[in-house]
Amino acid sequence: MKTLDRKIFRELWMIRGQVIAIALVVACGLSTVIMSYSTLESLQQTREQYYQEYGFAHVFASLKRAPNTLLERIAQIPGVDKVVSRVLAPARISLKDFVEPIQGLLVSVDFQSISNPDSLNRIYLREGRMPKTTTSAEKMSQSNQKIEIIINEAFAQPHDLHPGDQIKIIVNGHEKQLIIVGIALSPEFIYQIAPGSIIPDFSRYGVIWMEDKILEEAYDMDGAFNDLSIKHRSDIQSHVIIEKLNVILKPYGGLGAYDRSLQVSHQFLSEEFKQLDGMGRTFSMIFLSVTIILLNMVVGRIIASQRDIIASLKAFGYSNWAIGFHYSKLIVLIVMVGIVFGVLSGLFLGKNLALLYMDYYRLPFLDYQLQVGTILYSISITLIVTLLGALFSVRKATQLQPAEAMRPEIPQRYSITFIERLGLKKYLSQSSRMILRHFERHPLKAFMSVFGTAFACAIMIVGTFFMDAMNYMMDIEFNRSHREDLMVTFVNPLSYKAVYELRNLDGVLQVEPYRSVAVKMQSGSRSHRTAIQGFMPDNRLYQVLDTKNRVVKIPESGILLTEFLAKKLNVTSGDMIEIEFLEGKHQDQQVQVAGVSNQYIGLSGYMNINSLNHLLQEDSLISGAYLTIEKGHSEKSSNEISEHFFEQTQLKSMPQIAGVSEKKSLIDSFQKTVGDFMLTYIVFITVLSVAIAFGVIYNNTRITLSERSRELASLRVLGYTQSEIAYILLGELAIITFFAIPVGVLIGYWMSYGFILGIQQDLFRIPLIINLQTYIFSVLVVIGSAVISGLFVQRKLNQIDLVSVLKVKE
């Protein structure tokens, strides 16, 4: 080892406290980045592999009904590799001991060919076996035999259902007894969410795979299908197939084919991936900035204290380059310590996070691979950026003329500070004046310390704010926009008479119908597939709200668009858009955009129910209704109320009803699902924030201590007490923290804003809502870290050796 390298190691050992503080920041940053990206890449890879192995289709299409003979025509579309038809049927599931309605989706499967590797949307059996295929002889005696089915794991788990358990369903108005023989996962339901929902409710939505012949018969679909999955060649783009498919399916009530990007599970997952990516990006930015600030401070100080050594080295004939290289090595070593810990903990955390996600998303396996590329990339970025950041100090070191460096530094020029000039001088003690003048003399250092500490506050805010935002969004959506207790969805649109039937049910107070129609909106070359919601003009149970929570009136005629959708279609109020109805008579209509409203969730169009039906050339049809129910005696909990309601009425067994969703239970189950996860997450973010705050504040104070130890020791010699000189040092720390807090709040606010802009999506736009509690908690974390740093430094301060400090040269 070169002698100078030994110097580095010894010096690092001497400042090990600071090295650890910096390494901690680097390690936290790197581990967050590696964790996010290795999780992200592993999940993406897993999803890809899962899709591949279990034949996730490329194109999906739903339709009213088409004969199986049509399949041949579809298979002939150029580029189509494989077409699988099936029947999807809504059902209601009844379980013993669970009175609330459960929405079910029946999926017909040819269990004989499902194990075929080229079959599409294959299921992954977790438990049990595949159902036995029935022969036609058996089919005859079917009526008194229980039908074997497979259910999805997400639904099985909360109800503790296992092979051998029995469930009842109502499909097409008929009750059926089913026996579970297997529990499974599917690439179609990685993210399992009921159609039209924005949050999952695992216990109230179940997917049931049933033998095709049985379901076809039960749903009056003999020899026909109502759903298609297509796999196409990789050199063909999905939209080419979709266009041709739509033409073929139109006469059969096609609802418009779509590719993976609109497949619900895929879409939600992609959105989650985008958030992970955004987090990784935001955090790496924060940590890199803080690392640069820290290294600049610490290396700057090391270099300042080694002026004479640098001069000597130059006098001995070391070149600028050699000296620059020497100090760069020092920086690299400090950063390397952090990198080693960061990579190790990042991989560990990444693996665990990925496992957590795997569980949450119902993935059958996890393809967790060491993302060498990502790791190397993050390491090199960290090194390059920190070296560039510390370049300034190193340059200063090499530019020092040796003769100049040899001379003691000129006493620093202090001046009367602005605050003192304001006339406040007489209120300030000598110690306070020293603190203030020191700040004014070193504005850059003070600025960097404030900025660095501010980042600790900012990361707390940006890391936790979206929980506020999510809660707010939930509150708006479920308490203000949705004011109903129950939402009832019909299997097929019904006439307005259904409203009266619902109103006649015991315990029902209010009923308001709605109409929902799948459409494709088009303006010029831009198009979007969504639904139009039709409401009564005086609707109260569901209200369209804008982002300022004002009720948006549904226009008499014309369509109201979500702002994000209007932007997507590039239209504004007054423009005409073309609407292709994907239901009913399938005609195209021109509709004027009557207004644009800003909303957080979904991309919809809203219309008056009558003008919507008019456009559809239909009589007053409704797709479902919002209900409020009688609360009875106030001591009852809302769960008891709904249980009572469902026991009293026949709502659950009304054949035309596809599903009943209960608002309250939806929210409860969501909060239960995310609750634990969020708690872990908050702890994690807090650790990161503390690491930053500690890294910055501790380093800053240590540096001040080393810069001013002579001064402070002199004061001690002159008779100042330990705590009086601590005041000078810790007072500086307090002031930095004081200024860092508002700056941090601002940075946190703007970074949160940048974060939500970056992840805006079709499904929802997260609002910039940051609660006071979030600010307070963030500020407290920073203050706490400052206090801890202060205690550490005070211990050092107590160890100052008065005599040796004063004996030093000059």
């Binding site: 070169k2 002698t3 100078l4 030994r6 110097k7 010894r10 010096e11 001497m14 004479d308 050594i309 001069a311 000597s312 080295l313 130059k314 006098a315 001995f316 004939g317 070391y318 070149s319 600028n320 050699a322 003329q401 040796p402 003769a403 100049e404 040899m406 000129i410 020029r413 040269k809």
Partner: protein
Amino acid sequence: MTNENTLKSSGEKVFLTKGITRTYQMGEVQVHALRGIDLELYAGEFSVILGLSGSGKSTLLNILGGLDIPTTGQVFYKELELSHATEEQLTNYRRHHVGFVFQFYNLIPSLTALENISVVTEIADDPMKPEYALELVGLTDRMNHFPAQLSGGQQQRVAIARAIAKNPAVLLCDEPTGALDIETGVTVLETLNRVNQELGTTISVITHNASISDMAHRVIYLNDGQISSIKQNDIRKTPHELSW
């Protein structure tokens, strides 16, 4: 003892300065450190530059050592014009030709005595072994001590060992005994004398201590940035004979 004339005839000119001046900006004050110096120093010569503090002697030494460049005028080390040398030439010059001894030793605190010497020998062309350099200054038994574990005189002797270890043609010493007591100072000066005699190194010592001048071949008196006179010692004293 040798006298200047014999030196002049045997030794070539090592340094030549022509009217050098140097001004600094010290905070808000302009300091004229040198106001026109013409000087020649010869190979093998032991010279003392004597002056009060602020007379410009450190500046002169720094310029000779390639640590600083004059504001005006010319400085030559043999053929090389230091006053117009590039940074690279100056670095090279310092690396291969000059050894420095500073008043405050300037040892690197995190390196041991031996390692402080290795720092220099590692980049030199034809250095002596660091252990040998320490032996020359009589500190073999202290080689694994850190600067903080050495007395001032020992530190300065390490500094001298460090300066001579690369076998420089010139040794420039800035108040080498300034921070030392008399007894230790004498030991240091003896070491310098030995280096001059045994290795034939050209040595220039700057000091404000007039008594040291008795051991020099030549004494250059500096006053307010100018040479006030130059004295030749026909008879040189040994460091022991110096009266402080």
